[in-house]
Amino acid sequence: MNRFAELLDRLSFEPSRNNKLRLMTDYFRSTPDPERGYALAALTGALGFQHAKPGLIRALISERVDPTLFYMSYDYVGDLSETVALLWPEPAATAAGAGHNRPPLALSEVVTTLATSGKLDLPRILARWLDALDEIGRWALLKLITGSLRVGVSARLAKTAVGDIGGKQPNEIEEVWHGLSPPYIDLFAWVEGREARPEATDPAPFRPPMLAHPIEEADLAVLNPEDFSAEWKWDGIRMQVVAGHDATGKRVLRMFSRTGEENTHAFPDLAEALAHLPAQDFAIDGELLILREGRVQPFSILQQRLNRKAVSAKHMADFPAHVRAYDLLSLNGEDFRPFAFCDRRKRLEAFVAECNEPRLDLSPIVPFKSWEDLAAARADPASAGAEADAAAVEGIMLKRVDSIYVPGRPKGPWYKWKRDPFNVDAVMMYAQRGHGKRSSFYSDYTFGCWREGENGEELVPIGKAYSGITDEELAQLDRYVRNHTINRFGPVREVEYSRDKGLVLEIAFEGINWSSRHKSGVALRFPRINRIRWDKPAKDADRIEVLEGLLRQRESA
């Protein structure tokens, strides 16, 4: 438990992805089975026990600490698990003599005990464990049992770290992952080259998806339009739907995100409908969308469905989930991935037609003869067949008709050609220091547009961006921030901005939505810095009405 706690502690403070990877790989290399396997399960969210409630933890501490001191401490620290971890009284030194004969608490003991013990035993067991651990150990244990690790590690990143032990790609881990279970002895044995690859016995395994490279218009000149098929690029969520039957003949249906995280539980309505499709087993690659009266809803609507922990019947009825299929990876025991795209497409069309399921449809092919045709479709999807769904189109997907389905992002077979981003000129208002290589640089900028305020023209923040600039530009902006600071709030600096003074940043973004959470009433998607407008006076930056107009224009389309 101690080593796992130290790992979580370091991860929680480490902002860089690569350094997180190294911390995990180092841990997996140097920690024996089964401890590392349970740690992997904790990091990937694969531990199945019932999580403890905050009330239980409060009750335990109130038996041990003066309530006034607890209240003052909680008020100061601000996080229940952390407060309790810090406050927990160490068992008296004299009594500890007996405890010293015991081996230190192991993560495996925690996991196996929690899986088998009843709810009534939990307070007593938990108290005994907290007595046996140090502060970091207690913190990690409380985070683990309440189910909120929050150390900034995705399941994918943890699997990547395991792969790094033996030079395996994360996709190779994904291929076998869903047939495995904690503590993953067979996985580590394979990665370390001691045993053969574990057999995938999962009836509904995840298949690492194929991804596309962005294309520039200049690239098109050397490509032949006849080699490619085009589809709309939908502004939803990539989703893989896999179905099969387990050993007892029971139907298993799973839905996976692009990174292989299972999210079936979030879409019971969709899962229910798709479980009845007429096939022994299948794997569909498609886009998760919200459809109302046959119209694809913009991403902001989809987000409202995603942001729920528990889904109510009303919520499901208000936000009906739907899969728009663009590939068929397997059907009835046959793996289609080695087939050419055009062959898979024929099979997909036949399969979707046979299913006749309202929640499943085909992503249509966009017909074109020349790149000019396609550029026109991309510029105006509504007139090129997307019609009412045009607002949910974020570009064009290009797939070579002869391309087989390869996991990862191979160069050449698939391209994405996004619609041109929107631009807005905004004024820098705040800057925040970055992390890792950018630590000590003011690299995250909040910017605003003009609007009519109570005391005349004022800037209202519309977003935050930290990418799009070169290292040289970063240094220039950092110098600008340091020379124009008017206020400091911890790591944040407020810079000078007024009608006469201020720095204009040209911000590019992919989309825009109404937002009740933002003061400006709008939220930008993927904002980044396109150009630094050293030349442009602050008063000539855009007004908020420009963005509002853009939104209305899209709504009326």
Binding site: E6, R10, S12, F13, E14, P15, N19, R22, L23, D26, V65, D66, T68, L69, M72, S73, Y76, V77, G78, D79, E82, T83, L86, L87, E90, D134, E135, R433, H435, G436, K437, S439, S440, F441, R479, R482, N483, G490, P491
Partner: protein, 351 residues
């Protein structure tokens, strides 16, 4: 005599009318008794200063030889008469030369702790328990969430990180007086044999510690051109330097900070610290409680820090406890009379 007749709080700090002296005064006074050399306790400009030899020397290093009109050195345990009172200085274990001050008047014994700790520190004399009637304690870490781990364990984490990230410079923010040198000494005890690099503002005090016979091994002041080559090395700097341009030319720095505040995660995150090291020169909650009881005092005054919780606890122990609400202490980081940062270290954008 009651303690409240002997000592009063004034805008300049704690004042003893019977002896006409202030303890750790915040503004220039006629006669100052000073517990230790941190800038929030030891300020320049007093007519006369009574302190330990080391504290006087530290004030000289920090503020120049003319920091006071007259000075008098007090040896630990020496009984010094002032206008019918007896004062004595006793080790506080906080930094080199730090002292508790004991004031005795007509059978009443009051001990002013100054800042203190009970944990071992290879760079200064250990805390000495002085039995008393009234104990005037600090409470910097006066909440039960503050329990400092063994400093050796934290140093081991630092060394471990240097091993895991040998290409990254490990910048350890630490107060220039006491903490920085304690870390160097602890690194040596843990077997760290590489040179230890320091920020220019730490050099004078570090060399002073060395002259006082404290072995810190090879300590090198960082120069500009060297910075990019210090991957895997330990560089100790004032906490504020972690956020300045100074830190930039080091290879992908790991910002570390050695302080009792690092016990609380949010405090570490607010400062952008990636490797928090819980190493403190102050008593933690358990040490505060244990010390207060061990002095046998019947009355507790709390000078600065998280007074409320400690007063609440002491009242529950049957002590007459009250907070003094002294302000102006606990800001060791503000190095008031420190010379300006040498120009090659300065942030050009800030000048």
């Amino acid at each position: 005599m009651r303690a409240s007749d002997l000592l009063k709080t004034t805008p300049a700090g704690l004042y003893c009318a019977a002896g006409d002296f202030h303890i750790d005064p915040l503004r220039p006074v006629k006669r100052a008794l000073i517990t230790h050399g941190h800038s929030d306790h030891a300020r320049a400009g007093h007519e006369s200063v009574l302190a330990t030899r080391e504290t006087l020397a530290i004030m000289g290093v920090r503020c120049g030889p003319d920091f006071a009109g007259a000075t008098q050195a007090a040896a630990y345990g020496e009984r010094i008469g002032i206008d019918g009172l007896t004062v004595s200085f006793h080790p506080a274990g906080h930094v080199l030369g730090s002292a508790q001050i004991c004031v005795e008047a007509k059978g009443l014994r009051v001990v002013i702790s100054g800042d203190y700790k009970r944990a071992r520190d290879p760079t200064c004399a250990p805390f000495e328990l002085v039995p008393c009637d009234v104990f005037i304690s600090e409470a910097t870490f006066g909440l039960p969430v503050f329990r400092h781990p063994d400093a050796a364990h934290e140093i081991a984490r630092l060394i471990d990180s240097c091993r895991l990230f040998p290409e990254r410079a490990h910048l350890v923010g630490a107060y220039s007086l006491g903490k920085a040198q304690r870390i160097m000494a602890l690194l040596r005890e843990a077997g760290w044999q590489r040179p230890i690099y320091i920020h220019g503002t730490m050099e004078k005090l570090t060399r002073f510690y060395e002259r006082e016979g404290i072995d810190l091994g090879e300590v090198i002041r960082v120069t500009g051109p060297e910075r990019p080559k210090l991957g895997g090395e330990v560089v100790i700097c004032p906490p504020s330097a972690l956020q300045e341009l100074w830190s930039r030319r080091f290879p992908e720095p790991v910002p570390a900070f050695a302080s009792g505040w690092m016990r609380v995660r949010a405090r570490a995150r607010q400062r952008g610290v990636e490797l928090p090291l819980v190493i403190s020169d102050h008593a933690d909650w358990d040490e505060l409680c244990e010390t207060i009881l061990a002095t046998g005092c019947s009355e507790l005054w709390v000078t600065h820090g998280e007074e409320d919780a400690l007063v609440h606890w002491a009242s529950g122990q049957g002590l007459a406890a009250r907070p003094l609400h002294l302000i102006g202490y606990g800001e060791e980081e503000v190095e008031a009379c420190e010379p300006a940062i040498p120009s090659d270290e300065a942030d050009p954008a800030l000048i």
